[in-house]
């Protein structure tokens, strides 16, 4: 289709070249314009079947992919873990092979195991799109974050992006790190030492445990949810202390530059990692991220879906 895109799968952002990332973002520009029209649907994937295969629960990402597929005129089915044969003991490979036997063209996979999308991509002719695998990658989230920064600030190169929160268990953080460092941003990770271990410095980023030293110099702050329901108690003493040390409170937000963007992949825990006033404030682009996610996912489905044929 295009010499700038040759992949049938989108598994992660670590393996993408700068040009491939830029090409997705440029393609998303075109689809964003489509979303503003009265007729929002294009026939790009007409006759293709997309399976949203969500082995781990998600509403936001699944809905976004579903809507993106509808806008591209694809037929969509949704399969969740509780409704799949995986709960009856069928292996992931067998379930996926069965979906392929039904001529599914694109498989969008959300899975709790890192590497599950690559596992399927190596075994299927269908396109496999990673919608989040364990703590590994969430490439469309990384792309929509980059898209939003680029849209609001006009560039990514040389910006200082601060990612705050539970980095260790976060696929969003990893996809952001891989994408933004490729595009020339300076990335600082902030959070408790248990959730932001020093090993991350080997990925080409700075680690800090003092949010007040970092905020005044930030061009973008991306807040990650503290996933307290998933975490064992030993990682941090509790959300109260977390908010005290790392929450983007109203008071701390005053330290931010006027044009600093405040981002969050959602769902937000108001009052924990971010105060309500900041989440809803003038710097917040949290809802723009959601809108842009649709355009970015349309671009990814369009590009990968075109290769699979």
């Amino acid at each position: 289709m295009n010499e700038r895109w040759t992949r049938k799968d989108l598994l992660g952002l670590r393996e993408l070249s700068i040009d491939e990332i830029n090409f997705i973002l440029e393609t998303a520009d075109a689809f964003k314009q489509v979303g503003a029209r009265e007729i929002k649907k294009v026939p790009a994937l007409r006759g293709k079947t997309l399976v949203n295969f969500f082995v781990e629960p998600s509403t936001r990402t699944r809905t976004s992919f579903e809507l993106a597929a509808f806008r591209l005129s694809a037929d969509v089915i949704n399969i969740t873990a509780s409704g799949s044969s995986l709960t009856k003991g069928e292996t992931l490979k067998d379930t996926a092979k069965n979906l392929e036997a039904l001529h599914a063209d694109i498989l969008v996979l959300r899975h709790s195991s890192a590497g599950a999308p690559q596992f399927l991509a190596e075994r299927l002719k269908s396109s496999v799109i990673n919608a989040g695998d364990g703590a590994h990658e969430h490439p469309t989230q990384g792309l929509l974050d980059a898209y939003t920064i680029r849209e609001k600030r006009g560039k990514i190169d040389n910006l200082h992006v601060v990612i705050i929160g539970d980095i260790l268990f976060s696929r969003v953080a990893r996809s952001n790190i891989f994408c933004l460092t490729k595009l020339g941003a300076r990335v600082t990770l902030v959070g408790p030492s248990t959730l932001v271990p020093r090993d991350f410095e080997k990925l080409g980023v700075t680690v800090s445990h003092k949010i007040d030293n970092v905020l005044p110099d930030a061009d973008v702050v991306n807040l990650l949810r503290i996933q307290h329901e998933r975490q064992r108690k030993e990682y941090f003493p509790g959300t109260g202390e977390y908010t005290r040390l790392f929450g983007l409170t109203k008071a701390r937000a005053k330290m931010l530059k006027p044009d600093c963007l405040v981002m969050h992949p959602g769902p937000i825990n108001r009052g924990v990692e971010i105060d309500s006033e900041v989440a809803d404030g003038s710097r917040s682009v949290i809802l723009d991220q959601v809108t842009n996610g649709l355009a970015v996912r349309m671009a990814v489905l369009y590009l990968c879906g075109g290769i699979a044929t």
């Binding site: 670590r14 292996t91 992931l92 490979k93 899975h111 195991s113 890192a114 590497g115 599950a116 690559q118 596992f119 695998d133 364990g134 703590a135 590994h136 990658e137 268990f169 696929r171 990893r174 271990p197 090993d199 991350f200 080997k202 990925l203």
Partner: protein, 419 residues
């Protein structure tokens, strides 16, 4: 049988000479009257090699391996004696299961199969198995391999009790709290890939525990499959003080690092996990200076359908019997030049025989005629499709190696030879 013109290396007797070796009535003899002559010119004639860490999966998991198929794999790898681990189903924690394994081996195995017994009932780490009774039916050691007793008090009593019975204790060193749900080494690659990490400290903590208990109980504890630099350091220091502690090395822990996991291939998933280059270097030094005295495979067969799943859900372990000797000769003798072939043979014969008090591992006159003929210079390619094992879960498919066994002799009879 006469094995002619081979380089006979018998470390137990300090022997290394080109000489004919005679076998009569299943024993090493002064001369032989039968007509069979084996030309061993250019080959090493070693005492039958011993692998003291093998999972044969029977009873309970015969779709992965049987005692017969595991024994064939051992023979093809140059091993005349293998020591099998008790984590079968039922667990080998009782005399009846040990008797069953021995019967099964007697009727179906082409090499010597020596069972170990469990330390704790059902390998659950909660109460002692009948260690004395296990000793009576002939286990060569006790171990909860695959699991690790977390309760230091229970482990202390197990070691004390094993001392009375005269059985060495083999331990899979893993602190469950530190290792958590880790599936790969904690470090750069676990960080990059978002896979749960299992830090080296989780092994080192238990190695340190074992050193303290070996001292307290004045009895031998053998640390299985050492993977971490800190473990090597701890064992070195303890041995220098005469503590009854030893360490074992598996080929994958010196052939590979955790960089190999980057494509989520479950044939690189084992427990303990592949670690960093720093750890590999420390293990190589530990082999060179004698800190780590035993080589073994941790042969862990799994069916393809079990391994071909999501990385964190796959079982740990790889098969090793048929690539082990080639990897160790290639890496330790040829590539890294850490030890010579004599010491390598000693680590596969005298060392495990001494630890487990086996009547094996030597070519002394009158000894049981178990021998391995080795071509240390032969270049070959490991191919999983040629394996005798029932399983194929190896990361070494296609590896070009230098050195391997070419004939395996058990009880004076050739049980395998290179085609």
């Amino acid at each position: 049988m006469i094995i002619r013109d081979g380089r006979v290396i018998d470390p137990a007797n300090g022997r290394d000479e080109v000489v004919d070796l005679a076998i009569a009535e299943g024993r090493i003899a002064e001369k032989s009257n039968d007509a069979e002559v084996i030309d061993a010119s250019g080959l090493i004639v070693a005492p039958g090699l011993i692998d003291m860490h093998v999972h044969l999966r029977e009873p309970g998991f015969s779709h992965k391996e049987t005692i017969a198929s595991g024994a064939r794999a051992a023979a093809a790898g140059g091993f005349t004696t293998i020591v099998c681990m008790p984590n079968t189903s039922p667990a080998a924690d009782n005399p009846a299961t040990i008797a069953w394994i021995k019967d099964r081996a007697a009727e179906s195995a082409c090499v010597n199969v020596l069972p170990t017994g469990a330390i704790s009932k059902n390998i659950a780490g909660e109460e002692l198995a009948p260690i004395g009774s296990l000793g009576d039916v002939g286990v060569v050691a006790i171990t909860d391999d695959g699991k690790c007793i977390q309760n230091h008090e229970l482990m202390r009593r197990a070691v004390e009790y094993a001392r009375m019975v005269g059985l060495p204790v083999l331990d899979h060193c893993q602190d469950y709290n530190l290792a958590g749900n880790g599936v790969v080494n904690e470090g750069y690659w676990s960080t990059l890939l978002g896979l749960p990490g299992w830090p080296a400290a989780g092994e080192e903590a238990i190695v340190a525990r074992n050193i303290l208990l070996a001292e307290l109980c004045d009895h031998h504890i053998h640390c299985q499959h050492v993977s971490a630099a800190g473990s090597v350091r701890l064992i070195r220091e303890a041995r220098s003080r005469g503590v009854k502690i030893s360490g074992e090395v598996c080929p994958h822990h010196i052939a590979l690092t955790d960089e190999a996991i980057q494509n989520f291939d479950t044939n690189y998933k084992m427990n303990p996990p592949l670690r960093s280059q720093k750890d590999v270097d420390a293990i190589l030094e530990g082999i060179a200076d004698g800190t780590l005295s035993i080589l073994a495979s941790d042969h862990a067969p799994h069916a393809a359908f079990e391994k071909e799943v999501e990385f964190d859900q796959a079982p740990f372990g790889i098969v090793g019997l048929e690539t082990e000797l080639g990897l160790f000769i290639d890496l330790l003798v040829h590539k890294h030049r850490k030890i010579d072939i004599v010491r390598l043979i000693e680590m596969f014969t005298v060392e495990p025989a001494k630890l487990l008090k086996l009547d094996a591992g030597t070519l002394s006159l009158g000894a049981k005629a178990d021998a391995t003929l080795i071509d240390p210079e032969l270049e070959w390619t490991a191919k999983i499709d040629n394996f005798q094992s029932n399983s194929r879960n190896s990361p070494f498919d296609g590896w070009k190696l230098k050195g391997r066994a070419v004939r395996t002799i058990v009880n004076g009879k050739t049980v395998w030879q290179l085609a």
